[in-house]
């Protein structure tokens, strides 16, 4: 079982859509995948047209003292999703406090899920550090766009997590130049592939489908497949 997380360098870089696309792509390559929405916005399940999306979820279950593991949905026999649940701002803060108080919650939960899934994909919120404590994670990917804000934030954060560039437009001079610089400075961190700016991603969410299903012939779907292949290769390397 491998766990992977995606978190934006700044808000609004398209992490959740990317996560949905990656989950679909990994499942199409034959893996058993569980998508876990750690973000109070609770939008991951919208990508898969869940009928009951919005109400139930693991955070809702924690607040209502129910079993967290009974809140998952099976989209296909090998692709499952665990939504967050609809919570108010204060309720999210109380979950945040719980997670800060006991950072091993999700580590234990991962252990219990290990036997049934090949991949646990965590969609992390950009703020809320407590929600980011998900236990051991092999690939903690940071998602960025090639713009000045992400450039500055990457310099400030000075971490070592892998970085993936999303919504890349090769027609933009600024994005090309920034990517050149990043390939030099963050050579060990930057993923060898980028996900291009494709209208199909936005349309897919409007259709409430993952992009691999909505537009399998689009470049975005191909990029998601490349990303999934990269993840599989990394898993084999690090094993």
């Amino acid at each position: 079982m491998t766990s992977l997380s995606m978190r934006g360098v700044r808000g609004g870089v398209g992490t959740t859509s990317l996560m949905a696309a990656l989950g679909y792509a990994l499942e199409s390559l034959g893996e058993r995948v569980l998508l876990i929405d750690m973000s109070p916005e609770n939008l991951l399940s919208l990508h898969f047209n869940l009928r009951d999306s919005g109400k139930s979820g693991w955070a809702r279950a924690m607040l209502d003292d129910q079993d967290w593991y009974k809140q998952a949905w099976g989209l296909t026999p090998t692709l499952h999703i665990l939504p967050y649940g609809r919570l108010s701002a204060q309720e999210s803060m109380s979950i945040e406090q719980q997670l800060i108080h006991d950072p091993q919650i999700w580590a234990r939960r991962q252990a219990s899920l290990a036997a049934n899934y090949d991949w646990l994909l965590f969609d992390l919120p950009q703020r809320l550090p407590g929600h980011a404590a998900i236990g051991p994670c092999l690939l903690p990917i940071q998602v960025a766009e090639a713009d000045a804000a992400c450039h500055v934030l990457l310099l400030q954060q000075a971490g070592s997590n892998p970085v993936l560039v999303n919504r890349y437009d090769p027609g933009s001079q600024l994005q090309r130049d920034l990517l050149l610089i990043w390939r030099q400075y963050y050579a060990t961190r930057l993923l060898p592939l980028t996900v291009h700016a494709d209208e199909a991603m936005r349309e897919a969410l409007a259709f409430k489908q993952p992009v691999g299903q909505y537009a399998p012939e689009s470049l975005a779907a191909q990029d998601a497949l490349s990303l999934a292949t990269w993840c599989l290769a990394r898993r084999r390397e690090m094993a």
């Binding site: 090769p170 090309r176 291009h196 199909a200 012939e217 689009s218």
Partner: protein
């Protein structure tokens, strides 16, 4: 009912038959109905399937001879049956077992032979032997070598000069042929040397026999013709031998690594000389040169414009490259280069013709050798052509077979490199500035200044190198006449060098360098010998002169092994670079044209009027180049006359000459087919596009105006646009704007274009509005990719001598057919009656029925 049995009106109305024809056919039908019970179910089945059983009547209008055709076809079908695939009778058990064990035996022998070199190099006995030899001192080694050489020489001399009668000669050649066929299966260089040895023995033996036993000293006519043929044969024997020496061990030089510290890398001046070529051609070259991977401050690009054109100067300024021009145009390209070098001071000089687009890794792969060898003056790389040359275009074999230049750049230069004799070819090369200065600049005395410059460099003791990776690509000659004009110039230049600066004389060259240069020059003297070969058999058939004064059977026993061994060995050595027997075709095409300039240049190097003006330009329609083809037609007519004489001699000549007549007519037929191949090449095919498209398989993506992005495969590119193939059908309207994304290494670029063609999954994009920087990026994403020309050979089939021979012969036949198609209309009106008669006769010939979808003779997919 009457209509059915007597279909007179139907024939008249529907098929518009003549009344008598209709009457005739209708009465036949009525008789059939009367006597054959056509209404029975068996006949009904037959009539339903009559398209299948009588295919030659299927689309034809009814005519008088139809009853006869039907009768013949029915008889044929009754008597013969096509061999059913599924129910083929299996071979008897014992035959199959023998066949299988035979196959096993041969595959084991084959595997043994293939692994033999490796076993030999690993075996202990070999190592001990090599060790023993190393332990000998110099004198003993010399004695050992001398004794081996002496013994070998004695044996070779015996093999060559021992006269044999028929049976002994037959046994001898069969044994040698068997040995050659066995050695062929072994991979590696040493078996190649063995094959060369065998071929040399056989060819020397042939020539010895010719000199000692086949000249008729009694008759002056026989003697004259015989000596002429013998000189031609000696020439080709000499070229064969020198060729073996030249290419027996291709060096396959790998690129040398440069040091990591770029401060140690030398400065390079990249020169692009131009005279009257279009700016659009030079543009790509300059853009690609700007993208060469080399430190910016150590590379200076210069356009050397002999045409002194303003638009070039503006373009150079805009692109940021140097622009050099001069007051006069003395000595053409060499003078241009010499004048420019006075203003430049780079340590190395790279030269590109204006249409040769370099690849980004050009300098990285070539300069390393200059740093490794301080005496190295020249590194040459292949001239690769991205457009078909006239042979490939007119025969439609582009990228399916190696082209004409492939032998030189793939093998001959590589072999030259082994002997340090690789020479300069005028473009796609890097030279050391100090070496050029030492010889006083580029040579200007001859027309092929590049080979002459290299010769002078070698004389002064400089080395040269050849890296056989294609690092630039240019355009091939446009038409056959332009091609021939170019070869005439090279031939004259080489003959001039042979006369004025003979490589066999003078100091400064090693013996092998002399051999390699001499062979390069001798190659261009092949015009006269080739003409002699093409007309030799006519000496006997037309003039009754015994050019080979020997019995026909003996001639066969000597000539055939000579040809067989030569083609086996050449196939082994050259198979990847030229298919067997195509060399004859290329030589025939050029023979007439280079015969005269080379002879004139040999006697008087300064004289000679300038070449045939090249037609050049776009070939707008299919046409037959009568001017160029005239010599071939003359040769063909002569040979056909010879054939007629041969037939006459067969009937009316003396009986003991029949063998000779047959052999001569076989030779004449062979000559006719080779000349036919040359005629086929003269039938020019029209060029459809002006800019040449290069086929490729590159990943790309297109973005539509609505923001949707689709990955695709780039299947061809050219200066003005690309063609891409998508996974889905997009049905884009012509004229819509799309963006094409391509990558170069890790960088991606987006180009704005317009849809010019759209058909199912395929879209053609015209890229006409790119900015200068975008044009540079585009050239660097396509033409100047480091791997752009590396997979050119991937569709080539391996050489098989016999198949290649039959291909050439077949090409000869199609050549004559094409000639017939281009003949003026009045000749066709003359021959049309004969053609029609032939077609009418053939319509009576019965043929097999087409296989039906459900019959047991066809393989059906769905089992009942």
């Amino acid at each position: 009912m009457i209509e059915h049995c007597f279909p007179y009106l139907k024939l008249r109305r529907r098929y518009d038959c003549h009344p008598l024809t209709a009457l005739w056919l209708a009465s036949f039908t009525a008789m059939a109905w009367l006597f054959l019970r056509l209404e029975s179910p068996v006949w009904q089945r037959l009539r339903e399937e009559r398209q299948r059983w009588y295919p030659h009547l299927a689309g034809k209008a009814p005519s008088v001879g139809d009853p006869l055709r039907i009768a013949l076809q029915s008889l044929w079908l009754l008597v013969f049956r096509p061999w059913p695939q599924a129910r083929r009778r299996t071979a008897p058990q014992w035959a199959r077992r023998v066949g299988q064990s035979n196959q096993r035996l041969w595959s084991r022998i084959g595997a043994f032979l293939t692994e033999l070199p490796q076993h030999a190099s690993e075996s202990k006995a070999m190592h001990e032997g090599a060790q023993w030899r190393r332990n000998l001192d110099t004198r003993q080694k010399h004695w050992l070598d001398f004794t081996c050489a002496a013994v070998g020489l004695v044996l070779v001399v015996v093999c060559i000069t021992q006269p044999f009668n028929y049976v002994s000669q037959l046994v001898y050649v069969i044994l040698l042929w068997a040995v050659a066929m066995v050695i062929r299966r072994m991979p590696g260089r040493f078996p190649t040397l063995l094959l060369i040895m065998l071929s040399i023995i056989v060819s020397c033996r042939y020539l010895w026999w010719r000199y000692t036993a086949t000249l008729n000293w009694d008759s002056p006519l026989d003697l004259a013709c015989g000596v002429l043929l013998l000189i031609a044969e000696t020439y080709s024997w000499l070229v064969l031998l020198l060729g073996y020496i030249q290419t027996c061990w291709p060096l396959n030089r790998p690129p040398a690594q440069l040091p990591r510290d770029t401060r140690l890398w030398p400065t390079v001046d990249l020169l692009i000389p131009t005279y009257n070529e279009d700016l659009s051609i030079v543009r790509s070259t300059v853009y690609a040169a700007l993208g060469i991977d080399w430190p910016h401050d150590k590379l200076r690009i210069s356009i050397l414009d002999d045409g002194k054109r303003e638009e070039f100067r503006l373009f150079a300024e805009q692109a940021g490259v140097n622009y050099i021009t001069r007051n006069d145009n003395k000595h053409a390209k060499a003078g241009n280069l010499n004048q420019a070098l006075k203003q430049l001071d780079g340590e190395l000089v790279a030269i590109f013709d204006c249409d040769h687009v370099p690849v980004r890794s050009f300098l990285q792969l070539t300069v390393g050798w200059f740093l490794r060898d301080p005496k190295l003056a020249l590194v040459q790389t292949p001239h690769h052509f991205l457009s078909p040359d006239p042979f490939e275009r007119n025969l439609d074999t582009f990228r399916q077979r190696p082209n004409e230049g492939e032998l030189f750049y793939g093998l001959v230069q590589d072999g030259n490199d082994m002997w340090n004799a690789a020479f300069f070819c005028g473009s796609c090369a890097v030279l050391r500035r100090s070496a050029i200065d030492e010889i006083g600049g580029f040579a200007v005395e001859t027309v092929t200044e590049d080979a002459h410059t290299a010769l002078r460099l070698h004389r002064k003791g400089w080395n040269s190198a050849y890296v056989r990776i294609p690092q630039a690509a240019g355009l091939a000659t446009e038409s056959l006449s332009a091609h021939i004009g170019q070869r005439i110039r090279w031939a004259r230049g080489m003959a001039q060098i042979f006369r004025t600066d003979n490589p066999l004389l003078g100091k400064g060259l090693t013996i092998f360098q002399r051999i390699c240069y001499a062979n390069a020059m001798l190659h261009f003297l092949a015009g006269l010998p080739r003409l002699v070969f093409l007309t030799a058999p006519l000496a006997f058939l037309l003039m009754h002169a015994y050019i080979i004064y020997a019995p026909a059977l003996m001639i066969m026993l000597y000539v055939i092994p000579h040809m067989v061994h030569a083609s086996l060995t050449n196939s082994r050595m050259q198979g990847e670079h030229r298919l067997t027997f195509w060399g004859e075709v290329y030589e025939t095409v050029l023979a007439w044209y280079i015969a005269r300039p080379t002879t004139v240049a040999l006697f008087n190097p300064k004289k000679g009027k300038f070449n045939v003006t090249a037609k050049g330009g776009l070939m707008t329609e299919d046409q037959f180049d009568w001017g160029i083809a005239r010599p071939y037609l003359v040769l063909a007519v002569l040979n056909i006359a010879g054939l007629f004489f041969a037939v006459w001699r067969l009937f009316y000549g003396p009986a003991n000459e029949i063998g000779t007549t047959l052999v001569s007519s076989l030779w004449v037929i062979y000559n006719l087919l080779i000349v036919g191949a040359a005629v086929a090449i003269a039938a020019e095919v029209r060029q459809v596009r002006e800019t040449h498209r290069v086929q490729a398989k590159l990943p790309a993506a297109i973005r539509l105006q609505n923001g949707r992005f689709y990955p695709c495969l780039l299947v061809d590119y050219s200066d003005g646009g690309t063609g891409v193939q998508l996974d889905v059908e997009l049905s884009l309207p012509i004229g819509e704007r799309v963006f094409l994304m391509m990558q170069r290494g890790e960088r991606e670029f987006l180009f704005s274009g317009i849809v010019s063609r759209s058909h199912k999954n395929f879209i053609g994009i015209a890229l006409n509005e790119l900015t200068a920087q975008q044009k540079i990026d585009y050239v660097q994403c396509t033409f100047s990719r480091a791997d752009a020309w590396l997979n050119w050979n991937e569709d080539f089939a391996p050489d098989r001598p016999l198949h290649s021979f039959i291909d050439v012969l077949r090409l000869g036949a199609t050549g004559y057919y094409r000639l017939y198609q281009y003949l003026p209309a009045w000749t066709r009106t003359l021959t049309r009656p004969f053609v029609r008669l032939l077609a009418w006769l053939i319509s009576y010939v019965p043929r097999f029925a087409k296989a039906s979808p459900l019959s047991p003779t066809s393989r059906s997919e769905c089992a009942p």
